[in-house]
Symmetry: C2
Subunit: 330 residues, 2 copies
């Protein structure tokens, strides 16, 4: 079941002013993550490449930015009642920690087969975790029902203007630190980080081309972008778990269409090779989704030369032992 | 065969002024590596911990600082003839890259069983690699003979005042960035990084206690420190390959005795657990030797509270696939 959006109605839901306000809210709470450079990457690409390392963000991914920005703007009553979301991944921990910091009760709906370490990490931030059976239950409906019953505010993982504005602050920091870019590469799942980043780039570095990167196996946003019609994907078997989202949101799709210049895809092997390269050469632990944007560059999907290129490393939450086994394939 | 040093003769071989001069030489060439913090580490230690990440240094370890500082001070004639060193590890690549940058020919003596990737990396920086049989040959004698034959200047891995001064610039940067420390933890192999760091700490933060950390399996420096008599260790079977050095040097031993406050050791399991923790929580790739200082803190070997603590992460050069296999043990 594909939602039917009016894609041209919503492109003004988030503006650069919203990103500026988000940056103020996050100041002193979110990490101003480091920007790393690598001479071997610069040589390989004949360009100057700046990696914005959101794997060093609190909870290990950029998701903290959007979650905190959304929770901080709730009314006193909403804060008292609490919030709910559905996520087995980085958004869950981001909401849980944000709730803990802002003294807002949080409830996270997770599939009952979510790794126990992720359940534990989320509970560790004080969230209540409610499990559901992935095969029998529609998670959004399930979460909406609990939200109504308990008067909780639902904060979805990406399709929310305050979430988008928060995510955009990473690219804002990057460009403020390194100056104008010719190209900005951003991974794409539900499009929150991508649309937020594109809003930042177009405001701060108007000539910067923004390209979204998806796994080939989860190319719904790329197809949506090129056809200008919402496309979906179902349970894609990509290792980039943050990009398994079935479709862009009704807020993010119009923003992506309006602000993003192009979308490309990368293979599973390219993702794995790029992860390995980033671990080995840059000495940083990057999750599969976090390697997507770099993969488009390092695997030559995007050919550039003599350019200033920003690459968002979105996160570093992986089961290191599992990744070790994947690397043995290389 | 243990060398016989007069341990009190040489404590003035390196001064803080030498570190300042080294910092100027390195400025714009060495990376000013980032300092990372972690709220989970701070909670766990009830302190404020600053990780100086030399795994992000050029060639992947602090060794570049000392190598470059030494090569930059050679006479024109020495530069023209070239340099030689013995190392299968980080010092080899550091000398090779420094030579490349300064246009000095470099020769590296390596055991013939050194990993082919390390041989290739060293050759990649333009060095000539000469292999020897580890069982039949004394590497120092072998290198000295080639040095005499070819008029090469030998730059040893740690027992050289310019090398020590260069290594000390990492701690200098750390303290300049984060302010006075109560405690500075530094790994110890041959004592170059440790003595340089201690000189920096005592100059910039006089009340800072400096503690060196060794593997239990390679505890020669700890025993030397406590007995004030040079002790040795032979081919220790520690995973911390940077700390397999047989004894402190005739320059580094007096400096360690003079400037360092204490020495402790950590077990192999502690090293591995700490590496895993740093990879998983800090999202950084750290080699076993690079995890030594952090292990003393995180494993409770050193008990502190409410302190400002600096921890030097010395490097990140590991075979990631091999480490993956080691992590499976945990």
């Amino acid at each position: 079941m594909t939602p039917d959006y009016n894609i041209f109605s919503a492109k003004n839901t988030v503006s650069y002013t919203d990103l500026q306000a988000a940056a103020l809210r996050l100041s002193g709470t979110a990490n101003r993550t480091p920007v790393l450079t690598s001479r071997s990457v610069n040589q390989r690409t004949n360009s100057q490449v700046f990696f914005k390392c959101e794997n060093f963000q609190r909870t290990g991914s950029f998701k903290f930015r959007g979650a905190y920005n959304a929770l901080a703007q709730l009314s006193d009553e909403q804060k008292q009642c609490g919030v709910i979301t559905y996520s087995s991944g980085n958004h869950a921990q981001a909401i849980a920690l944000s709730g803990q910091l802002l003294n807002i009760p949080t409830t996270i709906v997770m599939p009952d087969d979510a790794p126990s370490v992720k359940q534990a990490a989320t509970r560790g931030y004080g969230a209540e975790v409610i499990l559901y059976n992935r095969l029998e239950t529609n998670r959004e409906e399930f979460a909406n029902n609990i939200a109504s019953d308990r008067y909780l505010t639902l904060i979805p993982p990406y399709d929310h203007p305050h979430v988008v504005a928060g995510q955009g602050t990473a690219a804002k920091e990057l460009i403020e630190e390194v100056g104008a870019l010719d190209l900005l590469l951003v991974c794409c799942g539900g499009g929150g980080l991508l649309s937020g980043s594109a809003i930042a780039a177009k405001a701060l570095s108007p000539n910067c081309k923004v390209i979204g990167v998806e796994p080939q196996l989860a190319d719904d946003a790329t197809r949506s972008f090129h056809t200008k019609t919402l496309q979906t994907v179902r349970n894609p078997n990509t290792i980039a778990d943050g990009a398994r989202t079935p479709y862009l949101g009704k807020i993010t799709f119009p923003l992506v269409l309006h602000y993003v210049d192009d979308m490309v895809t990368v293979s599973e092997d390219a993702i794995l090779r790029t992860m390995f390269y980033l671990w080995e050469r840059l000495k940083i632990v990057v999750e599969p989704t976090g390697a997507l944007a770099a993969a488009a560059l390092l695997e030559g999907i995007i050919s550039v030369s003599d350019a200033n290129i920003g690459v968002i490393i979105s996160g570093g939450n992986v089961d290191i032992k599992e990744v070790g086994k994947l690397f043995e394939r290389l």
